[in-house]
């Protein structure tokens, strides 16, 4: 039974959502995610303060919502977040370490992003979601982590879960999905990937 109802894959070359390429980098000097932020007209000033991990999770979740047509049918504590990566918050950890080793001024604005679960806080704040949230760290995407966490969250009253893989330090390697407890894709979407296929297709190193 496939509960995945939308997905979005972000790499340095493109963003693909539900099998369709939705963004490619322009020749612009701006980082790819910032280009997407502007192109998608997200207009959320807090975005500019976020670190790379939070930006990736934020952009991915906004695109998933757009792809899905919004998630407003769900209550504010019926959407759970299930994220994971291999590198924790290392992109910002390295910058924070440099702030005290090299610049001799430990930066509080960097330090607050030196936890991987901060991205879930940013998504919760953006959407006013008060649901469950879990962040796991694995060498490789572990589909059992996602499916087991989704199952237990559904059993606890969540009706949808948004989650995925968020490695950003050595190039963007991001795959987000939406799973819904009571909704299935239409019958004409035969071949739409389930969780296993999604990660197999996108991460051939699995």
């Amino acid at each position: 039974m496939n509960l995945v109802t939308s997905y979005c894959h972000i790499s340095g070359e493109q963003i693909e959502a539900d099998g369709r390429v939705v963004y490619r980098p322009s020749g612009d000097d701006k980082p790819f995610l910032d280009q997407v932020y502007l192109a998608a007209q997200l207009e959320y000033p807090k975005y500019h303060k976020m670190d790379l991990l939070s930006k990736a999770g934020f952009i991915g979740s906004e695109l998933l919502k757009a792809q899905h047509g919004g998630l407003s049918a769900y209550g504010d504590d019926e959407i759970g977040l299930i994220f994971a990566n291999s590198e924790s918050s290392c992109d910002t950890d390295g910058k924070f370490e440099a702030s005290y080793l090299q610049t001799h001024a430990p930066s509080p604005s960097l330090f607050v992003y030196t936890l991987p679960n901060i991205v879930m806080g940013e998504i919760a704040i953006r959407n006013k979601w008060y649901g469950e949230g879990i962040f796991g760290i694995f060498n490789r995407p572990d589909t059992a982590y996602y499916s087991d966490s989704a199952m237990t969250m559904f059993a606890k009253g969540m009706k949808a879960v948004l989650g995925g893989w968020l490695d950003v330090h050595n190039g963007l390697d991001v795959l987000l999905f939406l799973m819904e407890r009571d909704r299935r894709r239409a019958a004409d979407s035969t071949g739409y990937p389930d969780l296993e296929q999604l990660f197999e297709n996108k991460f051939n190193h699995i």
Binding site: C90, F111, A124
Partner: protein, 360 residues
Amino acid sequence: MIYIGAENLVSPLGNNLEEHISLLEQNISGIRSFEKAGFHGEDLYLARIPGLAGKLSFRMLLAGALRSLKGDIDETVITSGRTLVLISSTKGELANDLYRPFSDAVRFLADGFGLAHTPWVISNACISGVHAINTAHDLLGAGRYEHAIVIGCDVLSDFVIFGFQSLFAISDMPCRPFDKDRNGVTLGEGCAVVVLSRSAGIFRSTPHRVLGGTSSNDANHISGPSRTGEGLCRTVARTLQRTGVPKEEIGYISAHGTGTVFNDEMEAIAFHRLGLDEVPLNSMKGYFGHTLGAAGVMECVITLQSMRAGLLYRSLGFSCPGTYRSLNILTENHRKPVDTVLKTASGFGGCNASLILKKI
């Protein structure tokens, strides 16, 4: 029914639970002043484990936690294909490899002990420990595993100390949770372990039950607690509802109580909103500081011990009420049989978690 037991811990107070018990009964703290520990060379109060040093101390503590189980449970559980190990931590082995802070330590543990499954690392700031126990409970409840071993561990580093200093969040005295003179956290380090199982028979001593729990985000701020205690209220309300425990049955709350002005105020507001402000409550941070990702597991270990002994420990560092909403904070050790306990935690990223422990 999910059982929990075989609890043990390492902190500045001792290398196992036995060594902790008499010190806790005497309300002795493991917090000391350390010379030139701060970024500007200033002395800082910390809860450091004596003799713990080196880049690999994290994995050594994890291994020690697994070894400690050998006398406390059926040993075959550790390597069983029906067992999952969960590690709760914020920074792992950061001192060894900032860019892959868990990878080597997890492999070391899995290979060294012959674990059947790769351990899960749960990294949800300061709720990691409570969250990992809840996750273990849910996986067992769903029948995915028969047993789970939850290890909470974080070690002190310049990284974390300088970070909390940059936020002006470190207390200039041993932390004083909920007290009117509190002015920040005392950072600590430690490692704790509990075993959850669907079978009571694997435990050498009578286990307790874990009824499960939930988490909730404040959806308010990434580094400041909610002024209304929204996320903490929601998780506790959901946990009570899901476990079917009436709030009148809660005999004791093992609170988070970091000692910062805003966190403790937030907790007081939340417990007041929940109608739990009369329940005896303490924070263990005055004994071994705030151990971040390890805190939830360490505090559950002490709670399980409190339930066994019928002894609630004084909330060390508290003398004068200092929150707008008053709470029933333990100013002395209190002998009392406790049947049902609420454990809570809150952390950066606006996360909150809670769980219920109960005697068999």
